[in-house]
């Protein structure tokens, strides 16, 4: 709604789910945050670099690689650090306040 009014700009909005989507396709524009029992486990999205493969980012602080996801009032996610696809389309990007910022490498 806000987006249609041109007030809110984003490439991704957070959708909370309790279970990992497995091989379920995630619609473009959504970042599924898997939270179960109060534990943030995964951030899942379809790769925005063109290959479309599902990316599952581990939010487990005990393991590498790992990421952190925060969201603002509008459910726009900020993911850190950046996300680097090593196979498929090899894209490298940041998600900050719901926006994709492409890295040149």
């Amino acid at each position: 709604m806000l987006r249609r009014l041109g007030l809110l700009d984003f490439n991704f909005l957070v959708k909370r789910v309790a279970r990992h989507p497995g091989k379920t396709e995630i619609p473009a524009g959504e970042l599924w945050l898997v939270i179960d029992g109060g534990v943030k486990k995964w951030a899942c999205l379809s790769c925005p670099g063109g290959c479309g493969v599902q990316i599952s980012l581990s939010l487990n602080p005990e393991r590498r690689p790992r990421w952190e996801v925060d969201q603002d009032f509008w459910q726009r996610p900020t993911v850190s650090p950046s996300i680097h696809q090593q196979k498929m389309c090899r894209c490298h990007f940041w998600i900050r306040k719901g926006m994709i910022l492409w890295s040149k490498t």
Partner: protein, 309 residues
């Protein structure tokens, strides 16, 4: 099959098969050979056998299960695969590279899902490698996780890890391709805020080993160098920001307008990411872990450029 002579001094008392495998050597002649045997709950215990080429029946008897015919025994190979041992089949401990065995009663089925496909497995334990094989994904490029419900991280199951399917809550496995990494630029948040708020145009580059931060077209002291601006590279060492970056690098190469030469200790080339950088050999011995970051490094660079002679 028992051929050793207990009085023969060439035999050591006990050979630990797992130690031999770990050390990559063949088994020594011994009076006893120690293997590891797990039960259905995957409780492991040592078992000492007098025969380095036991049959399945011999191992079951040594493990004390009765009647032997109601049980199955599998060798767990280093790859995580199970190898079925028949009761009267001999198994040469000296050749196989397996020192772990699992014993369980047959005629049971365990249900679970992998990638939301129903699976049934006739044994209570299963390895990560078998899970991946059942899921039909390559074992070397995929990871398999056990979903943990109700508060707990999903558990990564490595190829040779064994999961007890008879435990409650062991129901759903997911496989994920292992192709995403943290960007080479795992820059600390403090650095990002600093770079953002001070208007630095930054490119983060990496050659797989080193991560570099390129400050794009950094403004140089006016009139001092043969260029008004240059790209400045900082290479982040492993362990940054607890470990200090050392030197910095400029491209294009800078000469002092006043002297017509390179500044002191800035005349060596350094190749990084296909560019030939001018190495500015300026060292930092006062790095404060937890306090210093790119902001400190940039201040040092600005100082070094201003003071260059």
């Amino acid at each position: 099959m028992q051929t050793q002579n207990p009085g023969d001094d060439s035999h050591i008392p006990l050979e630990d098969v797992s130690a031999a495998i770990r050390e990559g050597r063949s088994l020594r002649l011994a009076h006893l050979y120690r293997i590891m045997v797990a039960d259905e709950q995957l409780n492991e215990r040592n078992l000492d056998l007098g025969d380095p080429v036991p049959t399945g029946r011999q191992i079951l008897q040594a493990a004390g299960v009765r009647p032997v015919a109601d049980y199955s025994i599998y060798a767990i190979l280093p790859s995580g695969e199970f190898e079925d041992l028949r009761l009267d089949e001999t198994y040469d401990l000296r050749e196989r590279g397996a020192e772990r065995f699992v014993i369980f009663q047959t005629d049971r089925a365990f249900k679970f899902t992998i990638d939301d496909r129903q699976m049934e497995w006739g044994k209570p334990s299963i390895s990560g490698k078998i899970l991946k094989t059942l899921a039909g994904v390559p074992t070397d490029t995929y990871d398999v996780y056990l979903e943990v419900r109700g508060g707990g991280q999903d558990v990564l199951i490595r190829d040779a890890d064994l999961i007890d399917l008879s435990k409650p809550g062991i129901e759903r496995f997911i496989t994920l391709i292992r192709d995403t990494t943290e960007g080479l630029a795992a820059l600390p948040e403090a650095d990002l805020r600093y770079l953002d708020s001070h208007g630095f145009a930054v490119e983060v580059v990496g050659d797989g080993t080193h991560t570099g931060v390129v400050l794009k077209q950094m403004q140089l002291p006016q009139g001092k160098f043969n260029h008004p601006a240059a790209d400045v590279l900082v290479i982040l060492p492993p362990g940054y920001p607890d470990v200090a970056p050392d030197m910095f690098f400029c491209d294009p190469w800078l000469t002092l307008v006043s002297a017509g030469r390179y500044p002191t200790c800035a005349d060596q080339p350094h190749a990084f990411m296909g560019r030939n950088w001018q190495r500015w050999s300026r060292h930092n011995t006062n790095w404060r872990p937890g306090v210093d970051g790119l902001h400190t490094m940039i201040k040092r660079i600005e100082h070094a450029l201003a003071e260059a002679k």
